[in-house]
Amino acid sequence: MDNSSLSVFMSTYLSGPFLIRFFYKAFSIVSTVIFFVYTIVIHKQIEEVTNTIANRKHSILVFVSFIQIFVVLCLVIFALFYL
């Protein structure tokens, strides 16, 4: 890599706005993925405890926790491909 292309590379990829965008995207992806795992844990825990204490209304709780997983998955996809 010669000096001119190196300076172009540095001015493009090591500039302030690019680095801010890069860290913003990286932070978004990592935080949504961690949150996604967390919602799966909640879903599993709710399923587990609804087996321990059974009630007709508990299926609503399991459904809401499942919806939450789906919404967070949408966020992960958004962070990965559209941000």
Partner: protein, 184 residues
């Protein structure tokens, strides 16, 4: 209190004869009562969540001018889901932390969404003493408190925290213990 009729008070936090079953329930075992923390204990998490919403609104006005539309959309959406999750976490913790009293045993379910789940069973014949304690401004105002159930020997003592009408609950358990001792 009449324990023969089904009744639910304070958003199902004090239920008599609830339509609930648990995993290790015997075939002829009847659930007499079920207790949760008083719903007023959810007030502080509710207010916290409201403050988070206000902070998000303020952030939209002051800080997000530097970001593009996609980024603003993402942050808002993510923050709203986090706030919803905060409410959900507190609700689930409240909903699944229950004490169940049957005609044979007392079941204490201590549940934390992410950390642990602990279910302890105490036979009514092992109950030595039931104590209801209530103290503090909110507890007196809304009539809630703690119920401590002491058992014989080295068994774990059971406690139901912040339940409504703790003295009524103690009375129900005492009556059941008495009838168990008389029959046993």
């Amino acid at each position: 209190m009449d324990t023969a009729k089904s009744s639910h008070k304070y958003f199902h936090s004090f239920c008599i004869r609830p339509n609930t079953r648990f995993q290790t329930q015997g075939e002829n075992e009847v659930v007499i009562a079920m207790f949760r923390a008083h719903p007023i204990t959810l007030l502080f998490p509710f207010l916290n969540g409201f403050v988070f919403v206000l902070l998000l609104l303020l952030a939209n006005f002051y800080f997000f001018v530097f970001l593009n539309v996609k980024e603003i959309l993402f942050i808002n959406f993510f923050a709203l889901i986090l706030i919803f999750n905060y409410y959900w976490y507190n609700f689930i913790n409240w909903y699944f932390n229950v004490g169940i009293v049957t005609d044979d045993q007392i079941v204490d379910v201590d549940f934390n969404v992410t950390l642990y789940k602990e279910v302890s069973y105490t036979q009514l014949t092992h109950v030595e003493d039931v104590t209801a304690k209530s103290g503090g401004y909110f507890a007196t105002l809304f009539n809630y408190g703690n119920l401590f159930i002491q058992t014989a020997g080295t068994e774990i003592n059971t406690e139901f925290l912040n339940i409504p009408f703790p003295s009524e609950a103690a009375k129900i358990i005492n009556e059941l213990v008495e009838s168990t001792h008389n029959h046993g």
